[in-house]
């Protein structure tokens, strides 16, 4: 095993040095390009942020923007373990961290010593809206009926979703607030992921469920789950489910993912990264990746994204406080 690993490392090194050569050859056309880029993933390989990083790697390489890309994974506590390490990479202009909305919540709930405003936000890339479902055998046929039951006796409506304080829980808190139910009365049943939560729904063990659209999409298409509402801002093409807003619940939520640079980089470094991400987002390979993986592009970059991070941090802090999960 050790030997395998060493061999693997060596071949990886060889591969990347030849990649450096290649990128040297192709660089002159774009003077501001980076020689190499490190993608810092504050989660384990295989998760959503890692997949975003892998898709970026593919797009950046295929579109000839950067050839030499390395990964560093520091998993733990929704990004709360990785972020302090990333914040320590002060002034390094060739590192990008992949993170997202889940991280905002995790940092607040875990009282992490650092937050995202201490990084240099570069761009929001993709987003996934959430969907509210009920089991197919449920007597509830519409969001109105679910809300009516919810208002009448909040405790009787059990909601399955991901871990407490995560995106799913936050959406339910927002719905409760919008329809005038005390968010603390929400009967939330946390599961460790979409799979077990789906199983609880398919078996009819809970009243309703909330998760990212991608997680439930196939069950909905197969008629195994009944979709009542999505948390998008407007109707999504090809998805025949009304938004919460259409049904009179003024709630909109995207589980977004984006990239951040370390703190303390200078304007030139920041501009180079902004350009790099901009070129990637406009490249064909990136568009293909989005389509293949069913991700919605909600690109927002630079100063606007920094503003967004601030307002998002405030918004989520308020909701977590209402749910009784943050001080």
């Amino acid at each position: 095993m050790l030997l395998d690993r060493r061999l693997f490392l060596r071949s990886a090194l060889l591969g990347s040095s030849s990649a450096v050569l290649l990128s040297r050859l192709s660089i002159p056309a774009f003077a501001q390009s980076l020689d190499s880029l490190k993608l810092f993933i504050p989660a384990a390989p295989g998760g959503g942020w890692d997949q975003t990083g892998r898709a970026m790697e593919y797009a950046l390489k295929t579109a000839n923007i950067v050839q030499n890309i390395q990964f560093e994974h520091v998993p733990g506590a929704g990004g709360a373990v990785g972020l302090p390490r990333f914040a320590g990479m002060r002034g390094q202009g060739n590192v990008l961290m992949v993170g997202g909305m889940v991280m905002v919540g995790a940092l607040i709930a875990n009282k992490a010593p650092v937050d995202l405003t201490q990084t240099t936000p570069i761009a929001r890339l993709t987003g996934e809206f959430e969907v509210v479902v009920v089991p197919p055998q449920s007597s509830i046929k519409s969001m109105q009926e679910l809300v009516a039951q919810f208002k009448q006796d909040p405790g009787k409506v059990s909601w399955a979703g991901g871990s407490a304080g995560g995106t799913d829980h936050i959406l339910i808190g927002m719905i409760a607030q919008a329809v005038g139910v005390d968010p603390r009365k929400v009967n939330y049943v946390a599961y460790s992921g979409g799979g077990p939560a789906q199983a609880a729904l398919l078996g009819g063990h809970v009243t309703a469920g909330v998760s990212g659209w991608g997680e439930f999409a196939e069950q909905i298409k197969a008629g195994k789950l009944r979709a009542l509402a999505v948390s998008a801002d407007k109707r999504i093409e090809g998805i025949d489910v009304p938004t919460l807003k259409e049904q009179g619940i003024d709630v909109e939520l995207f589980n977004w993912r984006g990239v951040f640079a370390p703190p303390g980089i200078d304007d030139k470094q920041r501009q180079a990264l902004l350009d790099l991400v901009d070129r990637m987002v406009k490249s064909d390979p990136w568009k293909q990746e989005l389509q293949k993986r069913d991700w919605t592009s909600i690109y927002l970059s630079g100063e606007q994204f920094a503003q967004y991070i601030k307002s998002e941090t405030d918004r989520i802090t308020a909701i977590l406080r209402n749910l009784g999960l943050a001080a």
Binding site: G46, Y58, V81, S163, A164, A199, E218, A222, R293
Partner: protein, 499 residues
Amino acid sequence: METLAALLHGFEVAISPINLLWALVGVTLGTAVGVLPGLGPALTIALLLPITYKVDAIGAFILFAGIYYGAMYGGSTTSILLNTPGESATIITAIEGNRMARNGRGGAALATAAIGSFVAGSIGIIGLTFLAPVIVEFALRFGPAEYFALMVLAFVAVSAVLGNSTVRGLTSLFFGIFLGLIGVDLQTGQPRFTFGLLELLDGINVIVVAVGLFAVGETLFLAARHRYGQDEIIPVRGSIWMTAEDWKRSWKAWLRGAAIGFPIGAMPAGGAEVPTFLSYFVEKKLSPKPEEFGHGAIEGVAGPEAANNASATGVLVPMLTLGLPTSATAAIMLSAFQSYGINPGPLLLQNQPALVWGLIASLYIGNVMLLVLNLPLIGLWVRILAIPKPLLYGGILVFATIGTYGISQSVIDLVLLYLIGGVGYLMRRYDFPTAPAIIGMILGPLAEQEFRRAMQVSQGDPTVFLTHPLSATLLAIAVLVVAAPQVYRFYRRNRPPRD
């Protein structure tokens, strides 16, 4: 008939030279990562995800399935030989398996593990082929109350590993439950027992604890005693293969292990560890020689090993029929589906029959490959035991350290490994059994979460555990299993002697 035709078509896909090669690479790599503690199949597959850009979907999934399967085989090897479980599902194997190895019967233990895995794997695959829709229907009926009852039943397994003193056994159990509760509570998002350390928020990895208690603790204990005792090298006694008696004692355990492992593996929250506990308990109860348990009983290896392999196949049932990922490895495999633009769901079988049946056929092939690969290796593996003890245990320490560091490249994990190793040494020194701690650590948090989910859904009404028929039945079995022997003994003692 339709299933057979589809399966036959699957074999056509799986038997192409390139796919056979992927299966071989997968099972070999899987065996290797199974042997190394720490680096598990989920992480390995995650690290290999980028190959989805280069390899076609069927090839990639045959490779991934091979890794998944191979790891289950490989995990038992280090459990038996070095008392260092490579996977959490092979922790129970270490209890009897390592005893057997120390009695010079390491070869037989490895053989019953390998053949048992093959038998149970085959039963599991046949179950997956023909019974998947029925099994999944049954598995979905398990809600929080039913799972809690199942966990309670699994707790009776503790009674099989308590040792001589109930108080010491229970102390060990509660130490394990405490370790299991460290980290962010899923239901409330609040950290528990983390002492402000961010690294503890995700909890402690059970492999770190198992390796710490078993391998490091044992090594420290031996090192402390070394000067006083004679270093005895245990030669491999008799044939390294299984004797006729071994076969006789193993085959029923294999079948029972498979019967326990497959359905529990198919349950969305069943897991691979629970069936190994149950199987161990069942084997100890049914064995004609229960006194051998704790001293190297072959049934105690055969049953749990069969159970963990059958449960690994069981996990594929909800994944392939409903698109439900119910283990870390299954979740990673599903994310690989997505990078091909395939959306796994209830329609997967309809939309991608070649892929699904090719994958199932490759499991049959991979299973045979693993047996062929592992049996000849046994002769090589048992030679490890001929290494003089100081060198062997020094090696185990290095091996355990590297493996633990491999889990997350975290120094905190290494500190924990040695702290827990120190605790393991003390437990060994003062005769506390270590196995209950591991059972507590795995079952404690599962039981707690399911209990709270059940109470949450029922709005605090504890009768749910009795009003749900499945849950009531499981609880009744648990009570019966624990209480019946005591009542029987009491009754016999108080009965006037017949003359």
